[in-house]
């Protein structure tokens, strides 16, 4: 079976006001407090296009390698619903603002970070359209409550061709898109706040045959659920077909509690949206350096080249730069960018320590990150600042403590009691023994106490040496430099 997955992603544009009206865009405001006359569809009101939204769409299109349509059009898509005051949505159905792009993303093979593969998904188009309001169904009182704050907020609909084959790919592609949008600033793309919504189109077929009937899965509000929903639906379709059933071209919702998709009984039959050109908005004309008219009002014009020149480094470029600059591995770059604020944290530590970035990265990804994950904290919420960590790593680098001791210090720092690494080392007596004579004495004592092991080593079994090293470590309560101990033991044993 060949599963085929395509995605329709709605990203809320990060702007001060809505796509066609001047009311504010804000999450979780008092109901119906951000509604202009136009948003409420008062008769006689007209749409006025928001320039910032156009720029956001152009930026996104360029970042996704799309062709920007210098002339695009607006259309009305008609249907009746409580959260759609005008009875139609203004969208771009005939000629959208950007087409034919691509997005590269990475996935791990067999869950091994060290084996990353780059995949590409084609971007069919990006279109500008209005978001709808929100309706809440109150079944006890047989009412529907309508909040129009979100009605009219600008959306970019990004359509990804069915080039993906499983939940992991879908989630990875969306994650990469999310990072790109956040880097551009065109959308904050926080799924939990509804700024990024994903609908998946899924079908299965046998190799060589036509594509199967596809279903649309909606109501997915996290990356984790996206992967789950897609995989579940693929399985469901395969099972259905293998049992001789058929797949209906329907819309299904993802039930996160049950972990499965269920049919949505919302819309009966197929809707005819009766698309019609939006007569109140002239065609959207974009310019580039060549076509820009000489005496045009700068305020009235969007110059694609100007935007292109000012695009920030995209995630893929950022990762490559990190790898090159710091000598870390590609998968390290991936993880750094994947956690909000982690790259900045890493770079700050590197600035403040003599330890090589290649070594620092281990502490960041293995120690710090696992602590954060365990306690469900974001990088911003970390009780250990980059300053403190750098301080700690400096102690290690100067060989004042062992790496085992460093881990202990980190655990203490994690408590966030305001102590410095130096203070903790002193308090817990974790300094490495610097006195060579003292060490020699202890090594001698261990040798003297382990006759059998000494004989084994002298007989040629080098592995047993580690046991002796371990014993010295225990004696010194971890305050000995293992490399030095090994040296001393070898010297003594060869005498």
């Amino acid at each position: 079976w060949v599963p085929v997955v395509g995605l329709e992603i709605h990203a809320q544009i990060s702007s001060n006001s809505k796509l066609f009206s001047g009311s504010q865009v804000q999450f979780a405001a008092a109901p119906n407090s951000l509604v202009s006359f136009f948003d409420a569809s008062l008769p006689g009101t007209l749409p006025v296009l928001n320039r910032r939204c156009v720029e956001a769409a152009v930026m996104t299109g360029l970042a996704l390698n799309c062709s920007i349509n210098k002339r695009s059009l607006f259309d009305r898509k008609h249907y009746f619903y409580a959260d759609l005051p005008a009875g139609y949505q203004i969208t771009q159905q005939r000629v959208p603002i950007a087409v034919n792009g691509s997005l590269s993303y990475s996935i791990c093979i067999d869950n091994k970070m060290s084996q990353m593969v780059t995949k590409t998904v084609r971007i069919k188009q990006i279109q500008l359209e209005q978001d709808s309001g929100k309706s809440l169904h109150d079944d006890t009182r047989n009412q529907t409550l309508v909040d129009l704050n979100r009605a009219g907020v600008g959306l970019m609909e990004v359509v990804m061709e069915p080039d993906m084959c499983c939940g992991e790919e879908a989630a990875a592609a969306v994650r990469e898109l999310q990072l790109i949008l956040q880097t551009l600033g065109s959308s904050q793309a926080v799924m939990a706040e509804g700024q990024l919504r994903v609908d998946a189109n899924i079908s299965v077929h046998h190799p060589g045959e036509h594509y199967g009937v596809r279903t649309e899965v909606k109501n997915i509000n996290s990356l984790r659920f996206l992967a789950k929903a897609v995989d579940y639906e693929i399985q469901r379709q395969i099972e259905e077909l293998e049992n001789g059933g058929t797949i209906l071209n329907e819309t299904r919702a993802f039930d996160s509690k049950l972990g499965c998709t269920v049919p949505m009984r919302d819309k009966e039959g197929k809707q005819d949206y009766r698309f019609m050109p939006e007569p109140n908005l002239p065609p959207l004309i974009l310019y580039d350096a060549k076509s820009l008219p000489a005496n045009m009002n700068h305020q009235q014009v969007v110059n694609v080249d100007w935007i292109h020149e000012r695009l920030p480094d995209l995630p893929s470029v950022k990762r490559a730069k990190l790898v090159e600059r710091y000598g870390i591995l590609p998968e390290h770059g991936f993880t750094l960018l994947n956690e909000d604020g982690l790259t900045e944290f890493f770079e700050n530590v590197v600035k403040q320590t003599q330890m090589k970035p290649k070594k620092v990265i281990g502490w960041i990804l293995n120690d710090l990150l696992s602590y954060l994950k365990q306690h469900s904290l974001t990088v911003k919420e970390s009780p250990v600042s980059s300053f403190l960590l750098a301080d700690l790593l400096n102690l290690l680098e100067k060989k004042e403590i062992s790496s085992t001791a460093a881990k202990q210090v980190l655990a203490e720092l994690w408590k966030g009691e305001g102590k410095t690494p130096f203070e903790i080392v002193k308090e817990k007596k974790l300094e490495l023994i610097q006195d060579q004579k003292e060490l020699e004495q202890i090594c001698q004592a261990v040798i003297d106490g382990q006759e059998n092991e000494v004989m084994a080593i002298k007989a040629g079994n080098q592995k047993v040496l580690n046991k002796l090293i371990g014993l010295v470590q225990r004696e010194t309560q971890g305050r000995s430099n293992p490399a030095l101990v090994k040296q001393l033991l070898e010297k003594k044993l060869s005498e």
């Binding site: 008062l42 007209l46 005051p85 309508v146 019609m276 007569p279 109140n280 002239p282």
Partner: protein, 525 residues
Amino acid sequence: AALKGGLRFQVSAALKEGHVTPTELCQRCLSLIKSTKFLNAYITVAEETALKQAEESEKRYRRGQPLGVLDGIPIAVKDNFNTAGIETTCASNMLKGYISPYNATVVQKLLDQGAVLLGKTNLDEFAMGSGSTDGVFGPVRNPWSYSRQYKEKSVPKSHSEDEESNWVITGGSSGGSAAAVSSFTCFAALGSDTGGSTRNPAAHCGVVGLKPTYGLISRHGLIPLVNSMDVPGILTRCVDDAAVVLGSLAGHDPKDSTTIQDNFKPFELPNLTDVSKLSIGIPKEYHAPGLSSEILALWSKAADLFKNAGAKVVEVSLPHTRYSIVCYHVLCTAEVASNMARFDGLEYGHRSDMNKSTESMYAATRREGFNDVVRGRILSGNYFLLKQNYENYFIKAQKVRRLIANDFVKVFGSGVDILLTPTTLSDAVPYMEFIKEDNRTRSAQDDILTQAANMAGLPAINVPTGLSERGLPVGLQFIGRSFQEKQLLTVAKWFEKQVKFPMIQLEVKRHDHGAFQHQKSAFFS
């Protein structure tokens, strides 16, 4: 005598010189509205606010600081324009009691100039119709029904018949505004024009009706019928006044993305004396089936007038004219279906008591709120917009529209400056006769001469020309080039001067006196 008709030279001057005060003017108009109530021209009379506005205007005149020519001038506005704090109904149950929170741009502009808003005028429901007979507040009566000119010519068919059943329609859909201007209750009124809705009633009521170029005047706040054809229309008693009102309304509005960005410069109309450089086109297709012989003769006379004055008068052809009715029908109903989708009873307007489900509430609300004309157009429009029909109907109609528009481009490109055509097929018919045919049939018949200008977005104006055999007004239409309102109005003004259309001799019966109100009519004649 000073209040005869003109804004530009007469009333404004009178106000400036203190011969009459804005308050007096306002009161007289309000009083006349009351005594002509049977015309049913007004849906809402905003007496209190009008008097307040008049007071403010008066203060400004006393300080010697009037805002302009329009300061203190009583005006009326068709009830499909939003007026803050004053009911806006579109003559529909759907919006009965609807008080808009904002002013349409054109209303705001007039108020900013100091105009006094007397009230909202009657229309066909949602501006759909050509008679101003299909609104929920009843039909508008043409003031000429009560003119000496009409009464002299009408032969009562029987004793029992009186003028009550003989009254004629105003035409539509801006019938209320036309009647208001015609009966002297205001000096200028706003209408709207989508297929002829300003020019048609202007012709039937003997007033000037101007349809400006699409994109010249803001539609923000005009409740739309067909967004791609609607324009605010101007109704006045003379062409000069129309130019003044145009000057105060035209120009880019950032709230309306279909208005042009170019700077508009208000103009004064020159007194044209020499028409020899003018080329007048007579489109042969406007000799439409059903055109009365009277109007044909008048049209011919007008052409001769220009010819004899030295202008070049040529016959031209607009070959796609005959397709404009069906083309308009498809495009209009499609946009109507779309524009009316917002009336669901949720946010504003009528909401049905039916509450079994949202869908049933929508259905009941829309059935209760809209008349059958509106519902009929919605159904047609939705049909044409269905996926399987879109290409054959909507797209096709858009192509035909382009052909119609190109007809004009070709003709104007060949050296013709202005087109001269009839405005209506006949003079105003009696109401009882008009209602024998349904709205759709009537609209299809009556719009033929005016529609194409809306298709092409061109400016056009009705100039009252003469009286028919029945003593009713007949007007002729001038169609001009895009954004060449100055030329259009200049020619119209010249023509107006030549024809010297008679003033209405309005005879208003006052029920309490049981005698003719000669005083009132003398005052205005």
